[in-house]
């Protein structure tokens, strides 16, 4: 169904990856030289997780048409911001730099991407908020990048792929989380893999569609890792946003974790309350792609989860999950919609709750 009012917050929207040459002005000389002499600037850094022409990666009517002269920004406004009545959109640019093995090059490119986003997207479009792209394999670089950008309040989260170089709970990653917490930045885990490991526990499947589905298992493992390793003992205020992984699997995760904890607690004695409770407090999940088939079932799932605070509205633009502007499953009650589209996001992001936009949602005009 359509959004019944304007002023919503879209928590997952994707900016197109620019040609690598567009990043050159944002790189230091050594790296500009490396990119140019090695023709790295001619590479497209296309992530295997999102083949550009796949029917899922971009909705057909959202694809850029050759030669229509419309800028990327105008297209985004026309397709993703205006029609949904978006007040704030948390955008990310998932750049292939995160897949590089050279930590220094990856970090340099991530910085360039972030500066590019600030200048080319956040400056001209005040509705957009940004995600700080970091390389998870070198914590020092990642923290330095967070520190470098933390003053820019338009960046509201730090983003990592859910299936990265290591499970996100590992201690090696903690300096990143401390930095997030220090600066009121959420940690965003986004669907996708750096393919350091097979996308399933028993190796590599044959089809893209299998990898895409495997993201939910990736999220489950990531959440179990963050909880088990004690990240929330270290960073009790860290908020984790799970992007594009679905949420239908949450009840079983909560049940199983709570049960296991009772028998296995001694192994991880820093977990002093039910993991499910920590999860409900610290984790949030974006809506699209909604895998749960209808509103009645969504209500049941929310019942099983035991909280309606956890879902955040998202279009996952330009990924193709719904038609037209029907970004909500049909039949959701308006009170829930209000929570999902507005209250939950404001509460979820430390940097949005600061009143980035305090105006109340206004009722959308009746659309025919």
């Amino acid at each position: 169904m359509k959004l019944p009012f304007k002023g919503v917050i879209d928590c997952d929207l994707h900016l197109p990856s620019p040609p690598t040459t567009a990043l050159l002005p944002y790189l230091p000389t050594h790296w500009r030289d490396q990119l140019e002499t090695r023709f790295i600037h001619k590479m497209n850094f296309q992530l295997t997780s999102y083949p550009p022409n796949s029917p899922l990666t971009c909705r057909e009517d959202w694809r850029a048409k050759k030669g229509d002269g419309e800028s990327d920004l105008d297209r985004l406004r026309r397709q993703a911001l205006d029609p949904f009545g978006v007040d704030i959109a948390v955008a990310s640019l998932l750049h292939g730099a995160i897949a590089l093995f050279n930590e220094d090059m990856a970090a340099a490119l991530c910085s360039a991407v972030n500066d590019f986003v600030a200048h080319e997207w956040l400056d001209p479009e005040p509705r957009l908020r940004g995600s700080i792209l970091i390389t998870g394999q070198n914590t020092d670089h990642a923290v330095a990048e967070i520190e470098r950008l933390a003053h820019d309040k338009r960046f509201v989260q730090v983003i990592l792929p859910v299936m990265g170089d290591m499970l996100p709970g590992k201690r090696q990653m903690w300096p990143i989380y401390r930095a997030c917490e220090r600066h009121g930045l959420a940690l965003a885990l986004h669907a996708g893999s750096t393919y350091r490991f097979p996308t399933t526990g028993s190796g590599w499947p044959s089809f893209q569609v299998e990898d895409y589905i495997a993201n939910s298992a990736g999220f489950e493992n990531a959440i179990v890792s963050l909880l088990s390793e004690g990240v929330f003992s270290e960073c009790p205020n860290l908020r984790v946003i799970c992007l594009e992984g679905g949420f239908g699997w949450l009840p079983t995760l909560i049940w199983r974790l709570n049960k296991e904890w009772r028998g296995i607690r001694q192994e991880v004695p820093w977990i002093t309350r039910q993991p499910g409770d920590i999860l409900r407090e610290r984790f949030r999940f974006t809506l699209q792609p909604v895998e749960v088939p209808d509103a009645a079932l969504i209500a049941r799932i929310i019942g099983h989860i035991g909280s309606d605070d956890l879902l955040l509205f998202s279009t996952d633009y330009p990924h193709a999950h719904f038609e037209g502007v029907e970004a909500l499953p049909d039949g959701l009650p308006e009170a829930l919609i209000r929570k999902i589209t507005r209250d939950n996001p404001l509460a979820a992001y430390p940097r949005l709750s600061g009143g980035a936009s305090a105006n109340q949602p206004e009722k959308a005009e009746q659309r025919s």
Binding site: E234, I264, R265, Q266, V268, W270
Partner: protein, 141 residues
């Protein structure tokens, strides 16, 4: 007191030194009796979760942590781990550590009484032979 009528001598106190335990059957119930640092406690031998035979679990301490990676074992000997799913119970109270509200073991009062006291009462009727010069463990059911 009717309670008095349900008292059972289950053994000599010396036979159950600190840190040891004993499974007894009293009035058709299975009961585990534990000596924790000299104090006696009695718990129903059935975990309310999955029905595990609790007496066969490990008597342990409580693992706690001030911070991930920092481990400490405290209150050694005061907790019991179910042999099936590892749930931890405080022996003194029967309380589940993880779920104190909903999961609790049935506990019974266990006390030590001198043989001289016991032989006076009706307890001699128990199968247990009581001598006046020794101490015995008595359960209230």
């Amino acid at each position: 007191m009717t309670r008095q009528l349900n008292r059972h001598v289950i053994g000599r106190a010396d036979d159950l030194p600190p840190g040891s335990r004993k499974l007894v059957q009293v009035a058709g119930r299975e009961i585990g009796v534990f000596n924790v640092h000299g104090a006696f406690y009695a718990l129903a031998n059935r975990c309310p979760h999955g029905g595990g035979s609790l007496c066969e679990g490990f008597v342990t301490g409580l693992s706690i942590s001030a911070h991930p990676g920092k481990y400490e074992l405290v209150r050694e000997g005061e907790f019991l781990r179910c042999p099936l799913h590892g749930w931890e119970f405080e022996i003194a109270t029967g309380q589940s550590y993880c779920d104190p509200k909903n999961t609790r073991l049935r506990t019974f009062n266990a006390s030590v009484e001198h043989g001289a006291e016991l032989v006076k009462g009706p307890y001699v009727a128990e199968s247990f032979e009581v001598k006046i010069e020794e101490d015995y463990i008595v359960l209230d059911l």
